[in-house]
Amino acid sequence: MFAFVIRRIIQSLFVILVIGFIGFAIKHQIGDPVRDLVGISVSKAERDALREELGLNDPFMSQYVRFMKNAVRGDLGMSFFYKKPTLKVIVKKAPATLELVFVSSLIIIFLSIPAGVYAAIRPRSWLTRFIMGASIVGVSIPVFLTAILLIYVFSVELGWLPSYGRGATVSLWGWETGLLTIDGWKHLILPSIALSSIMLPLFIRLIRSEMMEVLQSEYVKYAWAKGLAPRRVYFVHAFKNTLLPVITVGGVQLGILIAYTILTETVFQWQGMGFMFLEAVERSDTTLLVAYMMVVGVVFVAVNTMVDIIYGLVNPTVRIAGRK
């Protein structure tokens, strides 16, 4: 077991190195950060002097080695735009994204489970047809369009909800949260609905088909034959087994949900990491880009490594398969 864990950790360190290298390699293709730091009429000589000062003229490998040396010490460089250490910028933006993803996940969980289960139990009812039809529409509309439609209907036409931003936030031990103010919640409603609109139909359909499959299985038939109450059959015997694959998929989809925050946050001017990332691309804030990729990469690698290790604990075949 110990050898398995060590092997896993060494592998993940290698993955992080590769992420750093790829990130660092593409940063030179994104554009020239110096352009964004000076006015357009500034001469080439001035720009070159600035580039030299920032060490952007050094050979690729020496820049990479310098970057990695600093990264090991936790220094991912200075953001060109924010003029602050990139890690600080990212940490400051993280709460906004995490809260948005958290509330969206809640929406997905609390809507997809009842809807999916209902659709599986009553496949022919008109409500099921409606849910299934609506989920097709939901899947096909891109998230930024959903977002703009929501803004148009609820902010511009009806005037019920604010159109952009996070609203009033409260600082809890350095964590800027919008979950503790009424204003903050009002601002959260539209973005979280927009963000959940991608995953919600997917989960409804997943739960429905899993549940329907389970309902066909022998043990459910046996449960019916035993004369158990329908509620017990559906929610204890069938539903529990439905959840296993759903949780597995859910873990993977969480990452995709974070990726979609880039679109949602941009439309709603939500000051999170996704918005920051897109702006950094536009501004060629390359150090911030690389730092973002490193941070997200490390988070993903860490989560996956942990999952693998837990899997290894639960399921010995995984461990054995890894052994030569």
């Binding site: 200075m78 103010t181 439309v267």
Partner: protein, 518 residues
């Protein structure tokens, strides 16, 4: 439980705090970006100058009809060819409480000459000399006609406040592009607003400066809350839903929507940013032929582009500087004539055309990509086949500098609000030593044009100077040195209770200090 209670109390406090400030007149402002720094000299850009006009005050400034208006300088006179004397306003206070005097002007000019972005503009100046506390002389190395134009960029900074070293041992007046500096996070100007809160990219709060010198200013916004909203559709929605009071810029596709809506108003104005395409004579020998260049100008229907693509929110151009600029010649009008274009191509011997490449940005100018596409189809009519590639501005300028294509798009706004600036950057012979023709990717080179522009730089008689610059525009027009497209309109929108019209101008620096909220 206790934690929740504390949090609830905090939330209540915030709600109450917001309720209290609602009494004072607050302007909620949304722009596409917020100032990159509190240091006005760190970058020369429209956004930084807009900020400078709020927090600092210039020596003089442009009025809406392009006249020079006194601000911190009450009057001025030319002493000789090389010296302009400014008489400064008395009793002006900085935000730090210090008194504004001539030494602050001297300090600011010295700092401008050190700034990477401004040093080229202030190259003609030897410096400033404080004659007395309220009299200062600006000296130039040779006779220079644009002293007043440049004085609009002199936003005096508090010399006492910016002197010394900060806690890190860095001099307080250091101009730092990347990384912390004193001036990045602290300001002391004489302007109508103080910066009271700033979280970059999220929110900026400007509070009216109680000791502001200009008591005659009608401005009555006690507080301005600036939120950057990058996405066009979101910015417009924020105005329409009432979340903000004023937005700039307004995307052209929403002009109609805002005009129709009650309770909000749209203000537009012809700008001075000229959009052009350049024809690279070095890469493509055909473009060295004047007739081919003329044929292209005749083939491109820039009035059509303005009408169809810009929806009328631009002014088709035949020259670089718009009306009101020294070199403007009303005779140089757009000249679309497809038949003539075909004839010219025939005369040049390119009846069957040729193919060439073109690049344009897709997020830099209004509708830039669509305009480029229109040009491609217009040139197809005279048998010039164009391979167009568009890209985001982050990648565009490197390609532009490398002259990666035969036809390249560029828009230009004159930093000096003067005609000569366009030609200096776009149409003079490219010269690495002098820096002229820095963005002349057409490689058009006419010694006569160069000579005339250089003459204009030391001609202090406005009438004579105007004649010279008109001649330049005429030469470029006849030579078809570049293809003029249009001047983009500037646009602002706000709630109906704002008096927007008097504070906006062609430079796109709304003077928020003078904004009246009814």
């Amino acid at each position: 439980m206790k934690k929740i209670l504390i949090a609830a109390c905090l939330a209540l406090c915030i709600v109450l705090a917001f309720g209290a400030t609602a009494q004072a007149k607050t302007l909620k402002l949304a722009m596409d970006a917020d100032p990159v720094s509190l240091d006005p000299h760190v970058q020369l850009s429209g956004g930084m100058l807009q900020y400078s006009h709020m927090v600092f005050d210039p020596l003089v400034r442009w009025t809406k009809d392009m006249q020079i208006e006194p601000r911190l300088a009450e009057k001025w006179e030319r002493l000789d060819d090389l010296t302009m004397r400014f008489y400064l306003r008395k009793g002006v206070k900085f935000h730090s409480g210090a008194e504004f005097t001539a030494k602050d002007v001297v300090f600011t000019i010295d700092r401008l000459k050190k700034s990477q972005d401004y040093k080229a503009l202030f190259e003609p100046f030897t410096g400033a000399l404080a004659v007395s506390d309220y009299v200062v002389d600006l000296k130039t190395t040779k006779p220079y006609p644009l002293v007043l134009n440049m004085a609009t960029y002199v936003f005096p900074m508090d010399s006492a406040f910016y002197t010394g070293t900060d806690e890190k041992g860095q001099p307080k007046d250091a101009i730092v592009k990347i990384g912390p500096s004193f001036a990045l996070t602290n300001e002391s100007g004489t302007g109508p607003y103080k910066v009271t809160f700033r979280e970059q990219g999220v929110k900026n709060v400007f509070t009216r400066f109680a000791d502001y010198w200009d008591k005659a200013s009608p401005g009555n916004a006690d507080e301005i809350v600036l939120t950057p909203i990058k996405n066009d559709a979101t910015r417009v929605a924020a105005l329409l839903s009432g979340d903000v009071d004023f937005i700039m810029p307004v995307p052209p596709q929403d002009y109609e929507r805002i005009r129709k809506e009650s309770g909000v108003q749209l203000v537009t104005m012809a700008g001075s940013r000229i959009i052009t395409v350049q024809l690279n004579q070095k890469r493509r020998p055909e473009f060295a032929n004047r007739k081919v260049r003329q044929a292209i100008v005749y083939a491109i229907n820039n009035e059509g582009i303005v009408k169809k693509i810009m929806k009328g929110e631009a002014l088709a151009a035949g020259q670089q500087g718009p009306m009101g600029f020294a070199g403007y010649d009303p005779a140089l009008v757009p000249r679309y004539d497809l038949e003539k274009a075909k004839t010219l191509m025939k005369e040049a011997g390119f009846e069957n055309g040729f193919s060439c490449s073109m690049i344009a940005p897709n997020n830099r100018y209004v509708n830039d990509e669509k305009i480029a596409e229109a040009i491609v189809s217009m040139l197809a009519k005279i048998n010039i086949k164009v391979n167009l590639k568009t890209m985001p501005k982050a990648q565009y300028w490197d390609e532009f500098d490398a002259q990666a294509a035969d036809i390249q798009m560029i828009g230009w706004h004159s930093d000096t609000e003067d005609s000569a600036n366009y030609t200096e950057f776009l149409c003079m012979c490219p010269n690495k030593d002098t820096g002229y023709g820095q963005y002349n990717s057409g490689n058009y080179c006419n010694p006569q044009v160069d000579e005339l522009v250089l003459d204009s730089q030391s001609e202090t008689d406005p009438a004579k100077r105007s004649q010279i610059l008109k001649q330049v525009e005429r030469l470029l027009y006849d030579d078809a040195a570049y293809v003029p497209l249009h001047w983009q309109n500037l646009s602002w929108a706000g709630k109906s209770n704002l008096d927007i019209d008097p504070i906006v101008n062609v430079m796109n620096f709304p003077y928020f200090g003078d904004l009246v909220i009814k």
